[in-house]
Symmetry: C3
Subunit: 140 residues, 3 copies
């Protein structure tokens, strides 16, 4: 069994934003030499997500508005008890649960085995600082 | 390490619906000959889900009503910017994030290692056309 | 390829609650002898979750209030058709979809490859009875 482990760092200049990281993951799959296996891609921070969806700017705006409606940003400790700790990011912990922590993708014949529109995104909900994503590849 | 890759195709005659695909996945686990390992089952389309829950028709009706309340279908471009592209399925991209893209299931002694009520479903949120699901099995 | 399979049992004395199970998973990773691989941790019941987030009591209270607002408990069969079967836990099936069934975590140099705040939780939405969690480790 072969394996490859890489930790990527992203620093988005906004509180909430999405970054297409498909190219980075594809490069690591090639580097691993794995022909048949799995790749795990996960946020290492609990106010961020890795998810698969469409690279369409209008959809990303829709996601932001929808997540903001489901879990509004509110720095005050009155809405969210978590913000009594001095944090202001309780909403980000909720947005991340909706969008998910991780994706697991099949590697087939040395490539990400993707449908026509699948792209991997880093989803940031409490940005403006460096945060990490783990890529773990196993297979043969 | 053994591996097996299969792409299943489903065409649901409705916009939103759920299909129990546990039997198909079980057959592929047997075909793979894997005794100890993992199976990844994921939607290859970004307006569909694969998830594990109960095969109870009332619950499925509840899921539909709940998802429709959280992310209503609205073909107009006024609610969803994604629908300015000519699409009408922005809501489906949101419903899919709630229900998830994929499941990873343990294979133990050659079988899906399931609790008493776990069943694998294909979740369709923009149907009436053929769409694919990937099954990837690795192990020994 | 090495593998290890364990089924843990939890019995939370409340309807909804979260239990940090990181220590149990770490022990099993050590027991497995796997240095590079993946660990799958999943709820085996469809009204429970396994998820990764922060071990902060205020946040957990926020999660409970937020999930209750998104999918309120209502034993009557008027809100949820599932409860016409004699069950009272339709809401728990929805809360579990938000929080997720499973996590997949990388094992690197024999340890869970975690960010600074990542902790694994069992999430219970219909407790007061024993329920199981599966831990499956594969790698080398």
């Amino acid at each position: 069994m072969k394996s490859l482990t890489e930790h990527l760092t992203f620093n988005l200049p906004v509180r909430m934003g999405f970054l297409n990281i498909t190219g980075e993951v594809e490069s690591l799959v090639r580097k691993s030499g794995v022909r048949e296996g799995l790749v795990l891609v996960n946020a290492m921070h609990i106010t961020a997500s890795v998810f698969i969806n469409d690279d369409e700017p209008g959809l990303h705006e829709d996601y932001k508005a929808w997540l903001e409606a489901l879990a509004p940003f509110d720095a005050s400790p009155s809405r969210y008890k978590h913000n009594r700790t001095g944090e202001d990011n309780a909403d980000a912990h909720m947005k991340r649960q909706i969008m998910g922590r991780e994706v697991v993708v099949a590697i087939t014949e040395g490539k990400l085995d993707f449908g026509p529109w699948e792209q991997i995104f880093y989803g940031e909900f409490d940005g403006r600082r460096p945060k990490r994503v783990l890529v773990k590849i196993i297979g043969e």
